[in-house]
């Protein structure tokens, strides 16, 4: 880089004085790689403007040069890419809302133009005029309605171009967080209305949050100036009243002031999401805080407010005239704001085209800045009023009954064509005069920013008085929601303050605070005369042939496009929007929607309210994903639940499986073992010696009460009346539709005391299920339930050597005859009081040790101290699955899927058909559908072995089963594989499956067509593969 490049040029459009910028603090930034200088207090937009940068982007569809239009959130063009590093890339930044900081790097977004050029060169023989032809109005609509192949062709190019920027390719080093807020009053917007309402609320002692999307609080007060006849409050410049109010609010303990904070979504019952940009004004990446710790770059406030006061102001509407998109065409209010707040003139020679008094401020401020106002075209036939007179007095030419009908120039406005117009006839009525200028500012009136009020479905209501939509206050979706100031259609400062005061008082009273003394400041007099409704300006040619008149600048939607849509029969504004893509940009058509509706209404010969209302959805402005995610990322993405023995598993190198939120040991590889090798070793260890499983994740529910037994009778499919104290029983639970929902062993600890176990995944939902029946259907039953899942650590010791091993640790008599299968004993286990359950999920001799979880790790370690000589092997969930499947034990949720009855599982032995109470699920088992013979029933499958090595075949889980592999496609599918493993004990693969009518098809061969075109073959067998008589668990 040469010495010269390092010099930043003087900012040519910066005024010598004025504005809320700090001329003593220059800041350096780059745009498209070139260095420029701005000032502290600038936005990126004002700094770009000060440097005379007219063209900031190429437009989305037509690749037309575009520059700044607005000064706030409604800006459609100056959507830039920010970031000096790859990781710091931020797309979709509105230059008007980005504070300037030293070192800021910004780029235009040209992704669309590039994508379009790629496409044109690929598909079109000669590259003609860019755009337009490729994406005519109705493009999206027609593309989707056309044969699918057309969309396939365009899709990748459109996706490439979609959005106005790119995501970073590297991980974002910044953090984001959430803050849950509760407040009595949330005031959104800190202009005169917001400040007044917040002050009233704060003085009452209520909890108040005042937020505003801008860098500084104050809203429109920040750009008020005596230069443009702005009013005084209590005889002082308005900014002084603002300063005093803020000072008072700041001193209140229960008031939070949140600048740089956009209220993006209004949700049910006054729940509002605020996006606070905490460090974006300081640097690319969030600086460390004073302690050297990371701080959140942005924060999502989730606010529950008793009352919401929307004081979001209004957006000025541009007029729609030909070539109104050429850089140098701005909103009148934006021109004023750049002058008064940032000390920047948008150009040298201004033409103003307006239909109201307020916009005259731009001309007055422009003249005061020593620039030339060429003319004001005022659509009103007879403009009068204080502002108009002041302009006349300043020697400004006012052309009444006229408007700018077309801008001249390509990369910058060079002139304005002005003509007298007849609004009712929608025609140009006089000669066209062309005036040389470099800036055209227009104002078509003001649209209240009603977006938030529409988010819950309350449609805004058209007002003929203000020629705009008002929030539907009083709608049932807007309870506790109020609006005041320009957001509610009050534009005169005095009216704004009076309305805001009333809103503040109403909010305070609704929150049951007493209104403290506060007064509305005295506003100096300034009479405005009425506006004249004007949206699209007629041209001397018909709309379809006139140079483009843009309605939605971001999506390049023109008045002619909307006219075409209505000609093609799209009469609802919602259809017009989808046909033209109007309002579908990142700005959601903040500037264009109402003009678009006005164009549609004109074409359809009806009023705007007849054309429809406009719907807004969250978010008001784009929000970075980081803020939505908050700290729920990385290791905090979702809860990870651990058992008391987890650190031992980690130390032993276990691989873990996620089961719900639990981390369970999956298998424990030794040396270079892969999963298969480890699982085979673990399986054989259990079958031949002894293994231990951490089964702590099983759901456990302590159930007591004199009706506990009856309760179990009703909840489970099987009978509990005769289960003795100290005995355990397996139970199945169904929904009332007869489908299996959970299973587990329940033990009778005392006559009225049971410990129920549930599946790991079912723990929470089963407790809720039990409570549901107890609370809603059987409150008379004396039964109480409490979860003890986390309380007991559960260690399953299983295998032929289990008795010898456990016997070393406990004072409980494990003798096979005194402590039988399916019994429980209490006693000391490795010096810890607990219970031993002699139950088995492997088919081997098993003891489930339950000890309070604080001692679980201790007992586990003691087992291994004693277990070496018995060959104790820890095993994980994969081995557990193999072992139980060898025994034909189901896993609910794996072998069942909500469509399987106990009978489908062949578990009639677990169904108490004769229990007196019609237990949950019983009645459904006699429905015709559950009685069909061709229901899918649980069977075993053994892959057919035709050659050596076939014993290693494992049928893929989920494989569909057919009876006839020669059947024409689609083949009738008759079932699927639910569990499938290799069994080292059996020496071959095996599976559990459900097959239509399977119980009667034992011995038949079925086929399993695979995705790769091959077909596997298997024999239907009993689902019990190992120890069919169940002798081993009884030893």
């Amino acid at each position: 880089m040469s010495q010269q490049d390092n010099q930043t040029a003087a900012a040519p459009r910066r005024l010598a004085s004025g504005g809320r910028i700090d001329r003593a603090t220059p800041l350096t930034f780059t745009f498209n790689g070139k260095r420029y200088q701005g000032l502290a207090g600038d936005t990126l937009a004002s700094a770009l403007m000060a440097n005379g940068l007219d063209v900031l982007n190429a437009s989305f569809k037509y690749a037309r040069p575009r520059g700044l239009v607005a000064a706030g959130a409604e800006e459609p063009n100056a959507i830039l890419q920010l970031g000096s590093t790859e990781a710091g890339q931020v797309p979709n930044v509105r230059a008007t809302q980005q504070a300037l900081y030293d070192g800021l790097e910004a780029h235009a977004v040209s992704g669309w133009v590039k994508a379009q050029k790629d496409l044109m060169s690929r598909f079109l023989p000669q590259v003609g005029k860019l755009g337009g032809k490729f994406m005519p109005p109705g493009f999206y609509y027609k593309t989707f309605m056309a044969p699918a192949s057309l969309w396939m062709t365009y899709e990748k190019y459109i996706r490439k171009a979609a959005g106005l920027g790119r995501s970073p390719l590297e991980e974002d080093p910044d953090i984001y967080d959430h803050l849950h807020q509760h407040t009595d009053v949330l005031v959104i917007g800190s202009g005169p209305a917001g400040l007044m309402a917040a002050l009233v609320a704060a003085r009452s002692g209520a909890r108040v949050i005042l937020c505003d999307e801008q860098e500084e609080l104050g809203g429109s007060l920040l750009s008020m100036s005596a230069d443009c006849l702005d009013q005084t409050l209590d005889g002082q410049p308005a900014i002084e009243w603002r300063d005093a109010v803020l000072a008072e609010l700041e001193a209140c303990e229960d008031v939070q002031l949140l600048p740089r904070t956009t209220a993006n979504g209004y949700h049910d019952h006054n729940f509002v999401t605020l996006h606070e940009r905490r460090t974006e004004h300081q640097a690319d990446l969030a600086p460390l805080n004073a302690r050297g710790a990371q701080q959140a770059r942005s924060r999502l406030h989730r606010v529950r407010a008793h009352r919401v006061i929307m004081a979001t102001g209004a957006h000025e509407r541009p007029l729609v005239y030909s070539h109104n998109d050429v850089p140098g065409n701005l909103l009148a209010g934006a021109v004023t704001t750049y002058l008064t707040r940032y000390g920047v003139a948008a150009g040298d020679k201004l033409v103003l085209s307006v239909n109201n008094d307020h916009a005259y401020r731009a001309a007055l401020a422009w003249a005061a800045a020593g620039r030339e106002v060429v003319a004001i075209a005022d659509a009103r036939p007879d403009p009068a009023g204080v502002m108009v007179e002041a302009a006349r007095a300043a020697g400004i030419r006012i052309i009444a009954g006229a408007a700018v009908i077309e801008a001249k120039g390509e990369r910058r406005v060079t002139g304005a064509r002005i003509a007298a117009i007849d609004i009712d006839a929608f025609s140009v009525t006089g000669a066209v005069e062309e005036l040389a200028c470099d800036t055209i500012a227009s104002s078509g009136g003001y649209s209240p920013v009603v977006h938030l009020a529409a988010h819950t479905g309350a449609r805004p209501v058209w007002s003929d008085e203000i020629h705009g939509f008002l929030p539907a206050l009083g709608a049932p979706m807007l309870k506790g929601f109020d609006a005041c100031g320009a957001a509610n259609g009050s534009f005169a400062l005095e009216d704004v303050l009076v309305a805001a005061y009333a809103s503040g008082v109403a909010a305070v009273e609704a929150c049951e605070f007493e209104t403290a003394q506060a007064e509305v400041p005295a506003v100096s007099e300034l009479a405005e005369t009425p506006m004249l409704p004007l949206y699209q300006v007629p041209h001397d040619k018909p709309t379809a042939r006139a140079p483009k008149q843009f309605v939605d600048l971001q999506n390049d939607v023109t008045a002619a496009g909307i006219e075409l849509a209505t000609r093609e029969g799209f009469e609802s504004i919602e259809h017009v929007k989808r046909y033209t893509a109007m309002g579908f940009g990142t700005d959601q058509g903040k500037l264009g929607n109402i003009n678009g509706m006005a164009v549609a209404a004109r074409c359809l010969g009806q009023t705007i309210p007849d054309t429809g209302t406009t719907v807004f959805r969250p978010n008001y402005t784009p929000v970075t994903f980081g803020a939505i995610v908050g700290r729920h990322c990385g290791e905090l993405f979702d809860p990870i639940r651990y058992t008391a023995m987890h650190e031992w598993h980690v130390a032993q190198g276990a691989k873990f499986e996620d089961v719900g939120q639990w981390k369970r040991p999956w298998y424990y590889p030794q040396g270079s073992e892969d999963m298969h090798a480890a699982v085979e070793r673990e399986c054989l260890a259990v079958r031949e010696k002894v293994g231990v499983l951490d089964a702590s994740t099983l759901g456990k529910i302590d159930i007591t009460g004199r009706d506990a037994r009856e309760f179990l009778n009703r909840i489970y499919t099987n009978a509990w009346a005769k289960l003795g104290v100290g005995k355990a029983r397996y139970g199945l639970m169904c929904h009332d539709d007869g489908m299996v929902m959970d299973d587990g062993v329940t033990t009778c600890l005392a006559e009225d005391h049971f410990l129920m176990t549930t599946t790991t995944g079912g723990a929470a939902s089963i407790l809720e299920w039990l409570e549901l029946w107890h609370q809603t259907e059987w409150p008379e039953l004396d039964v109480q339930m409490t979860s003890v899942t986390d309380h007991w650590a559960t260690l399953t010791v299983t295998g032929p050597e289990a008795r010898a091993l456990v016997g070393e640790l406990t004072d409980i008599d494990l003798d096979r005859d005194s402590f039988k299968f399916m019994e429980v004993r209490e006693g000391l286990i490795a010096d810890i009081p607990g219970r031993i359950f002699r139950i088995s999920f492997t088919g081997e001799l098993s003891y489930e040790l339950n000890v309070p979880a604080n001692y679980g790790l201790h007992v586990w370690k003691r087992l291994f101290e004693c277990g070496k000589k018995y060959g104790l092997t820890p095993y994980g969930t994969e081995t557990m699955h193999v072992l139980r499947a060898e025994k034909g034990f189901i896993i609910v949720g794996q072998d069942t899927d909500g469509s399987i009855t106990p009978e489908d599982l062949g578990m009639q032995w677990c169904v108490g058909y004769n229990k007196p109470y019609s237990w949950i699920g019983k009645r459904a088992l006699s429905r015709p559908d559950t009685r069909r013979d061709d229901r899918k029933q649980m069977v075993g499958l053994i892959p057919t072995r035709k050659k050596a090595g076939d014993e290693r075949i494992v049928l893929p889980e989920g494989s569909q089963i057919v009876f006839d592999p020669e059947h024409a496609i689609p083949m009738p599918m008759v079932g699927h594989v639910t569990s499938s493993y290799y069994s080292p004990t059996l020496g071959h693969g095996f599976a559990l499956a459900v097959v239509k009518g399977g119980a009667k098809r034992i011995g038949e061969t079925v086929f399993l067509p695979q995705a790769d075109g091959t077909t596997l073959e298997a024999e239907i067998t009993s689902p019990v593969f190992y120890d069919k008589k169940g002798e081993r668990q009884h030893v």
Binding site: H269, R304, G457, T613, T776, A924
Partner: protein
Amino acid sequence: MMHIFCPYCGELREEEEFHVKGQAHIERPKDPEACSDAEWGDYLFFRNNPRGVHHELWIHAVGCRKYFNITRHTVTYEILETYRMGEQPTITGETKADPTTQAKGVSA
């Protein structure tokens, strides 16, 4: 994100603390075996889906763990009342005129 008054806790709490459990007042037939298949099917599978006032069963899952009922407007999401198990609603589709049917532009 609704704000729900739990009739047992006696307070408004955030929706995150609650789970919805479907239509309220679905009573299990006292004698299931006496039900025809059609009656049992109605009990199991058929639910109202009104556009307007609806009675729903909820549980204050992260809270008192009690089931209770909510009368809610399915379009406006207004919660018109909450009441304990065993109690009957005071507001029903008949007693409450639907405010949204008068509003223009709302389509089902």
